[in-house]
């Protein structure tokens, strides 16, 4: 009797802690997954294991950053993986002009497509799901056609991009791409927490009318958000291309749903106004560790998808449970 009462208070206190700081709870889940994976494959608990998981997580984390920014405004980007693929193609085709031009041209794809998405959503008020879905179709068609004409044969990536995506500092210990992700993370966290634009992202997602009546041109905020998401998509695409060394139209496809899932697991509300990038980083790490674990378990694609789906559902549910009790 006394024991159960004590247990209840302990549970209540834990729940209150988790509510106050969801990142801690997420970090716990992530740690648990790492330990389980280590139990399955002791090799994993080494510098190499960490390195491979981080390498996995970097592009996913950057793509999920794009979703986080947009989800905070109540939007979403289903074209972000096509942007990644398209940027990779363009960067590859421009490889002969040197790495800088290649990367800039690649990022320009994200800028242009992001701006188009943003104009559609913010000015013409198209539902973001539909706008980016249509954009994804347009890009897939365009690039399919271009691979047979102007982009023909340009599937090889410049050495510099390969080095950036797959190379490392300090004798193969610290991958460049992870460092790049860390820098992007810091910038994103700074933008969301310490700048007027970041504040407006939350505000627009919470109540656009109130922000408009406050004298803010909300369409500018939204378009900037889609452009930022497009640029992040481009960076992720170029990293992916560098890692695989070649590009094809399926390059980033598999990352679309995980990029949304990582942001959701990290506690960003799909309705806008609530969340942040710290949670998303943890979300991306959790999904990457999960992928490693399933690979070590040597199970088929079928079981991998089953487990992946179940874990995403369980985490989202747990999160909602915490938020509802509040």
């Amino acid at each position: 009797m006394v024991d159960s009462a004590a247990a209840t208070t302990v549970r209540a206190r834990l729940a209150a802690k988790a509510r106050a700081n969801p990142s801690v709870a997420l970090g716990g889940v992530c740690l648990l997954l790492v330990l389980v994976t280590g139990f399955i494959e002791p090799e994993y608990l080494s510098l190499n294991g960490a390195r491979s998981s981080l390498l996995q997580a970097a592009p996913l984390g950057i793509l999920a950053g794009a979703q986080t920014i947009l989800m905070l405004t109540g939007g979403i980007d289903l074209s972000v993986t096509m942007i990644a693929t398209g940027s990779a193609y363009v960067a590859a085709s421009q490889s002969s002009h040197g790495a800088a031009v290649a990367i800039l041209m690649g990022v320009a794809v994200g800028l242009v497509v992001g701006a188009a998405n943003g104009i559609g959503v913010a000015v013409f008020r198209v539902n973001p799901l539909i706008m980016t879905l249509a954009m994804s179709g347009i890009m897939l068609g365009t690039f399919t056609a271009w691979t047979q004409t102007i982009l023909r044969g340009s599937t090889q990536v410049a050495p510099f991009i390969k080095e950036l995506a797959a190379g490392s500092f300090l004798g193969n210990r610290l991958p460049y791409s992870v460092v790049l992700w860390a820098v992007i993370s810091l910038i994103l966290i700074w933008l969301l927490r310490r700048t007027g634009w970041g504040r407006l992202l939350y505000a627009v997602g919470d109540n656009e009318t109130a922000v408009r009546l406050a004298g803010v041109r909300t369409w500018q905020v939204r378009i900037a958000a889609y452009i930022a998401a497009g640029i992040l998509g481009s960076i992720a695409g170029i990293l992916l291309a560098g890692r695989t060394g070649a590009v094809d139209l399926q390059l980033a496809n598999a990352f679309l749903l995980p990029s949304v899932a990582a942001a959701v697991i990290g506690g960003t509300s799909i309705f806008g106004g609530v969340g942040g990038y710290t949670g998303t980083i943890l979300g991306a790490l959790i999904l990457s560790v999960l992928t490693s674990m399933l690979t070590f378990l040597n199970v088929g694609q079928d079981i991998q998808q089953l487990v992946y789906g179940t874990i995403v559902l369980a985490l989202a549910w747990g999160y909602a449970g915490l938020a509802n009790r509040e």
Binding site: G120, F124, G137, A145, L313, A316
Partner: protein, 335 residues
């Protein structure tokens, strides 16, 4: 005088119906225009083309009808394509080399099973308070994993009579157009009547329009939500069955399901159902689904690379939605 006013009433009523279902009408007119254009593009337009268009549209039309019901009730289901995969995989695996009677029983059981599974998804959404899009994103992995587990590689089959039922021919090539057209009209009519003429259907509209008010008015929000997801699941199962009938095999690839989901959302929006829920008629979605399918043969008839169909489809959706956005914008400014 009296007759005059009655005429006015009739006229007003007609205007009201027209203004409310204007979008639906517009989509059907667009489909008609595309059909006429297509008929003039190719040297011979006959039964073969009608059969081919109507049967190839079946899976998307079913899936879009299911998505429409779920969207009307205020949700969105990203797992419908995965459910199509699951139903396709189960059907192909267990229908192979079975007599027609057994195949029909399997089909009915399958519809019931998938409806139950998706109804559970709807229940989980209500219970957990997790947004629809997130839950169905997760379940889409679960169902496609399950589909892959049941049918690890493309294969399987079904009874020839079952193929005839959906395609009008036992081999899936040519045949009569009566069956595919009927198989499109009957489910669409049933879903339409269910959504507009029954209390359950209206309660789906109510819940999608405003679930708080619906519950104040004493409606069962959970019941409407679960029912909409179950109905969506049943239609996804039907889409899987149509796929197995058209192709004669099962194909459990993840990307097939993901594309089907995205197309169903596109058809719903093009069909005039707002993603915010509570409005729109499911009939427009039938035409929208067929339009999206027809772009492919039209472009190949024009001698254009079919890859451009994808571009055209995207541009079409974007432009239609932008015009829709502009129209509401102007209307808001005016009133």
């Amino acid at each position: 005088m009296n007759r005059d006013s009655r005429a006015t009433v009739v006229f007003n009523r007609a205007g009201l119906i027209l203004s409310r279902s204007g979008w639906t009408l517009g989509v059907w007119l667009l489909l008609l225009a595309l059909l006429i254009w297509y008929a003039n593009l190719i040297p011979r337009f006959g039964e073969f083309q009608i059969t081919s268009i109507s049967k190839n549209s079946l899976p998307l039309v079913y899936l879009a009808l299911g998505q429409a019901i779920i969207v009307i009730a205020g949700g969105i289901d990203l797992s419908l394509g995965a459910l199509l995969l699951l139903s396709n995989a189960i059907a192909a695996r267990f229908m192979a080399d079975q007599p027609f009677g057994a195949v029909l029983v399997i089909a009915l059981l399958l519809i019931g099973l998938v409806a139950f599974l998706n109804g559970m998804t709807g229940y989980v959404i209500r219970l957990s308070g997790v947004p629809d899009i997130v839950v169905t994103l997760a379940t889409s992995y679960i169902w496609s994993g399950l589909a892959l587990w049941i049918l690890p590689s493309p294969g399987g089959g079904t009874a020839p009579e079952f193929r005839w039922l959906f395609t009008g021919s036992e081999s899936g090539i040519g045949g009569t157009y009566v069956l595919p057209v009927l198989m499109m009209i009957i489910p669409a009519t049933v879903v339409f009547l269910l959504s507009r003429r029954t209390r359950l259907g209206l309660s789906m509209y109510a819940v999608g329009s405003d679930s708080n008010i619906a519950s104040l008015a004493g409606l069962g929000v959970t019941r409407a939500k679960v029912a909409s997801y179950a109905l969506g699941g049943a239609l996804a199962a039907l889409a899987g069955l149509a796929t197995v009938a058209i192709t004669g095999t099962g194909d459990p690839r993840f990307s097939v399901g993901a594309n089907a989901t995205l197309n169903s959302v596109a058809a719903v929006v093009l069909g005039g159902i707002a993603l915010t829920g509570g409005t729109g008629l499911v009939l427009g979605v039938v035409a929208a689904g067929m339009i999206l399918i027809m772009l492919n043969p039209i472009l190949s008839a024009m001698g254009i690379n079919p890859n451009n169909a994808q571009i055209l489809q995207g541009v079409l959706i974007a432009i239609v939605m932008m015009i829709g956005g502009l129209v509401t914008l102007i209307r808001e400014r005016r009133t």
